[in-house]
Symmetry: C2
Subunit: 223 residues, 2 copies
DNA sequence: CCGGATCCGGGTTGATACTG
DNA sequence: CAGTATCAACCCGGATCCGG
């Protein structure tokens, strides 16, 4: 895409991340960490392979990602966010917060659904709520796939599959998972609508406590 | 632009604001408030007039802007952000913070420079630092134009021209104005490099105090 | 399978010109 | 002032192909 040629921080930022797909590539790398080309493609349904290749090249030139030789079991290379790329976390958090407030309806027929997108919502908005060195493992199952999120006070980590057993697992429509994680729904509201909560539910309600004012999340007891 | 067809809050947000120019139109409306078509065009050098018209139509359909009959002196209509449009403030703040950290060099030859872009940086990152009902008027002069920003504890307002006298006025290269406002430069560093500070300089150093940790901004006394 | 490269049709963008 | 109209160039997405 062409530069806006405006000496403005917004325009400069968009010169780099305003291209189609770029912020979604950042989303995937922020969720899973270092990823292979095919992993990225899997998390970006709809992208053309030439575009993914070209975007990765541009992003590397712009200092957002680095290409590295894979650490151990894989015989290929992986893409990884640079420090500068990770600093886009705030941009993504803002976009998530804005976007989630519009998602009051379920996915349309041709919408892809992948659980890491809800997991990233959890990671970016809920991490830092556990006590200092406690860790909460949250399982998320939407659209026939599963991920687990480890929420720590200083960050989060997302993996595909239910590798480690979770403290608590959410399964059901992405609308309900997102509604609960974003605070739009209470636990009883969400379970009433069909969300399944397995495991230690009190861990979940602790997570949804808003630490800003110390108030307990609405659990449905007092609507 | 086509939808990503991903049931993800980031993708949903980008479905609406990911089109070229959209966030820059929001930037102008956030800076100046209700604006006429030609005001917008002026603040968006490089945009084709058909694109501006089409974007405004789409943004209206998406509930980001409203078209209103102008209040008093103007015989035409103005565009105004809706509540939902104003909620993009956090997205713009994040983009500004990310983008400004890369602007360590001045504008290139074909970059447009307009003072409201620095003013918005000030408005979005510095407002809320004055005491409860105090108001600080900051003048900004870059690239042969002038704006003034009124910084209040609960928001800000930007106007073109030096209508009201400012408490303190910055004039000089946009690089230095932005460097100072973003905290990358101290006052003495910026003035040493050619920035002119007119008026009550202590108002400026008060603004640059970081209220998070209560620490005083580096004024150059202790580098 | 993985990591792309190539080709192609159609849609989008942006410059210019024009109009009520 | 507030937009349309037109058109060339470019970008996007889908499909296909190809070397490890």
């Amino acid at each position: 895409m062409k530069s806006y040629h405006q000496y403005c921080s917004v325009a400069r930022a968009l010169d780099v991340v305003g291209d189609r797909w770029v912020l979604l590539i950042v989303r995937e790398l922020l969720a899973f960490g270092p990823s292979r080309y095919s992993d990225l493609k899997r998390g970006l349904p709809g992208i053309a392979s030439n575009l993914l290749a070209e975007r990765l090249r541009t992003m590397e030139a712009d200092g957002l990602v680095e290409r590295r030789d894979a650490p151990a079991p894989i015989g290929t290379q992986v893409y990884e966010l640079t420090e500068r790329g990770r600093e886009l976390e705030d941009v993504l958090r803002a976009l998530i917060r804005w976007g989630v407030s519009t998602m009051t309806t379920g996915p349309s027929e041709d919408d892809a659904v992948q659980p890491q997108w809800s997991a990233l919502l959890a990671g970016l908005t809920l991490s830092g709520r556990s006590s200092a060195d406690a860790e909460t493992i949250l399982g998320i199952e939407t659209g026939s796939e599963t991920v687990r999120v480890a929420l720590r006070h200083d960050g989060f980590e997302i993996e595909r599959g239910p590798h480690a057993e979770a403290d608590v697992t959410l399964s059901g429509p992405a609308l309900l998972v997102g509604g609960l994680l974003s605070g739009r729904l209470t636990i009883t509201e969400a379970t009433g609508l069909g969300l399944e909560v397995a495991g230690r539910a009190e861990v979940l309600s602790n997570l949804l406590v808003d630490p800003v004012d110390g108030e307990r999340a609405r659990t449905g007891a007092t609507p």
